[in-house]
């Protein structure tokens, strides 16, 4: 009897010990990454798309030995607004005990979530939020590997000065531009930067129009731009207002020589709304797409193949490739730092320098004092026959030409 009990006790102890041991091993072997994005609500499509980039990156990282010798695992944290961002971080940090946090499709969520992450001394690595204020805060745990609003504004200005002016056969001082933007801080900050830079280069900015992205009617905005007769119509906004502007311009027979949209207008949502003819020739400044040249973004073709193999479709939006690259840079940085501790990572950032054209998106690595990667730039596509073709910068364009502009 005693014997049996002892044996049972021993066996029980052994089983318990093995369970604990297994738990300890698996905890040790997993590097958990909490992915903060909207997975419900109107932006779920894009939140999921960004996280698909992380999942593909996790596959690639795990094939190469993982992070700090551990297998990377993605844990999703749903956040459609700042409040949800805070609770998602709290849950991921306490219940799931993640090692780092990554995100974010929404800048407002990134702001609140990263501050909460600081309370738990967790690194918040941002790959996709655009607001410039996020890095300007100088938060010790916040790093951004992707382009931000200033990069988008800068590329739109470069496009006009370095490419479009020549194609239109005009000196910058003869060039007339109308700047249109949605009225929140996103559109206004980009428009302000564009105006300043263009005027500095001598370009004649005819006017700056603001509108709400929820507007029911934008005929007034279109007619004001039409009356000014610009060479280039430059718009920054969201999908609903961008589509409505394009449709209203079509109705009002406003057909400026060049239309440049910043941030949106490059997805199927716009193609479906306007039809192939309606979007033909439109230029869009957006995240680099997988069709960039291998010289500009080495591995971009392989990325597209991996995406198709895993998700059985083409990328819904270009944000996922920037997310993919951002997570890879994060893994490399944490490996370099030997720890996911924000202070150690911050110390390792200056040692990460890499030239532009290192990653699939054409990004390089050079973090400034605010931990913003200044070697991450958007590219420009043009709608051609219902397809988005990368046309700027030249090195990314694979020889593709802008059609229907100038001669």
């Amino acid at each position: 009897m005693n014997n049996t009990l002892t044996r049972r006790t021993l066996m029980g102890a052994a089983v318990t010990a093995s369970i604990f041991a297994a738990g300890a091993v698996s905890a040790q072997e997993t590097f958990k990454v909490g992915a903060i994005n909207p997975y419900s609500g109107p932006l779920a499509l894009y939140g999921n798309e960004v996280t698909r980039g992380y999942e593909l990156a996790a596959d690639a990282i795990n094939e190469n030995g993982g992070v700090l010798g551990k297998t990377v695992e993605i844990v999703k944290g749903n956040a459609t607004n700042p409040q949800e961002g805070i609770s998602a971080v709290e849950q991921l940090a306490t219940r799931d005990n993640v090692d780092v946090l990554i995100g974010t499709y929404l800048s407002s969520v990134a702001g609140a979530a990263s501050e909460t992450a600081l309370n738990y001394n967790k690194l918040y690595w941002d790959t996709n939020a655009l607001a410039s204020v996020l890095t300007e805060r100088g938060l010790p745990n916040f790093v951004r590997s992707g382009p931000y609003s200033v990069s988008f504004a800068q590329v739109s200005v470069d496009l006009i000065l370095d490419s479009l002016a020549g194609k239109l056969g005009k000196a910058p001082s003869d060039l007339k531009v109308w700047i249109e933007h949605e009225e929140s801080v996103y559109g206004s900050s980009i428009a302000e930067y564009q105006k300043e830079q263009l005027e500095e280069a001598g370009v004649h900015v005819l006017g700056v129009g603001a509108h709400s992205y929820k507007s029911i009617d934008l005929t007034d905005s279109v007619l004001r731009a039409k009356d000014a007769e610009p060479d280039i119509w430059l718009q920054t906004g969201y999908v609903p207002d961008s589509n409505l502007l394009l449709r209203t311009a079509e109705n009002q027979r406003f057909d400026p020589p060049v239309k440049v949209f910043v941030g949106t207008g490059d997805t199927n949502e716009t193609l479906e709304a306007l039809g192939e003819e309606g979007v033909e020739g439109l230029l869009v400044v957006s995240y680099p797409r997988p069709d960039v040249s291998e010289e500009f973004g080495p591995g971009s073709n392989a990325y597209l193949e991996a995406y198709r193999a895993k998700f059985d479709q083409d990328p819904v939006a270009p944000q996922s490739m920037a997310a993919f690259v951002g997570m890879k840079i994060m893994a490399e940085t944490v490996n370099k730092a030997g720890s996911a501790d924000p202070a150690a990572v911050a110390e390792a950032l200056p040692k990460m320098e890499k030239p532009e054209g290192t990653y699939e998106t054409g990004f390089g690595v050079d973090f400034n004092d605010n931990k913003q990667n200044v070697r991450a730039h958007p590219t420009v596509i043009q709608w051609q026959g219902g397809n988005q073709v990368t046309v700027f910068p030249d090195v990314a364009a694979q020889g593709s030409q802008m059609l229907g502009i100038g001669n």
Partner: protein
């Protein structure tokens, strides 16, 4: 002069949109005395109805009104019978209930679509009638014609038919109407159904103009409330002309001042009208208080 004329036309076309969205809201408010917060979502359902009819049946969005409008009518009848009627003696709870419906419909469509913005194109989508410098988009012209037909039809219905007269009687005094043998509950059900059907019609007519999103109803509804109060509660012609007033003010303010200021300007006019004529431009004096009068 040409641009002035152009802006007048832009304003009238926009007024048509506002008027059409406001008709159903005004009918429900005028007769049942419920502020239906979910009216914008009924418009949104109409838009998605047009999309589904196009996607599954290949119907042109304008033709889909033969399916969508009756379905929305039925939905309206069901909502009135099973949600609002049991709360008949608790006006505040009715308002909360319509707010609940707003959240329900919005989130339901969100869950189904995942937030992708859909568009439905009609053969008329890109058609433009050009007269010199003036361009009139055909989908907007169709909306304008629709609102004129609806206003004339509604006016004829409430002045020339027995059910219409019953609705008017119920609007004026529920208790007396009941004493005259009018089935008040039935009148309410048909009215809410008609209000929902009008929202469905508005949704179908607007679907070719906008990119569909679950929140799009909210973009219309604020303006629709202003139109209804400005024009006069419960007055068919109030919603009709109120829509045009708001449309014209918005077009002129947006073009001649600043598009960012247009909403501030029409809300200012709205507040002035409320102070000068609390019943609205076409409303009956004191009508706005009828909802507060003790009813059966």
């Amino acid at each position: 002069m040409l641009s002035f004329l152009n802006i007048v036309i832009v304003g009238l076309l926009l007024g048509g949109i506002y008027g059409l969205v406001s008709m159903g809201l005004n009918l429900i408010f005028g007769v049942i005395r419920i502020v239906n917060f979910s009216q914008g979502e009924l418009v949104m359902l109409g838009m998605y109805g047009a999309y589904l009819s196009w996607f599954f049946l290949g119907l042109d969005p304008y033709l889909s009104s033969i399916i969508v409008v009756p379905l929305l009518f039925l939905l309206g009848v069901v909502l009135q019978r099973f949600i609002l009627q049991p709360l008949q003696n608790e006006p505040f709870m009715q308002i909360f209930a319509t707010f609940g419906l707003l959240m329900f419909f919005q989130n339901l469509v969100l869950a189904i679509t995942g937030g992708t913005g859909y568009s439905v194109r009609s053969a008329a989508s890109s058609a433009v009638i050009t007269m010199g410098e003036i361009n009139v988009s055909l989908p907007r012209l169709i909306v304008l014609i629709a609102v004129i037909v609806v206003a004339l039809g509604l006016n004829w219905f409430v002045t020339h038919t027995m059910p219409g007269k019953a609705v008017r009687a119920v609007t004026q005094d529920r208790r007396s109407a009941r004493l005259m043998g009018i089935n008040v509950e039935l009148a309410f059900m048909l009215t809410f159904g008609a209000g929902a059907a009008l929202a469905g019609l508005a949704g179908v007519m607007l679907a070719p103009i906008y990119t569909l999103s679950p929140q799009i109803g909210g973009n219309f509804i604020l303006a629709a409330f202003a139109v209804v109060v400005l024009g006069g509660l419960g007055s068919v012609w109030g919603a009709f002309f109120g829509g045009f007033i708001i449309g014209l003010v918005e077009a002129f303010a947006g073009y001649y001042f600043d598009p960012a200021l247009k909403h501030a300007i029409w809300f200012l006019i709205f507040i002035i009208v409320l102070i000068v004529r609390p019943g609205g431009l076409f409303g009956i004096a004191g009508a706005e208080e009828m909802g507060l009068r003790e009813q059966d």
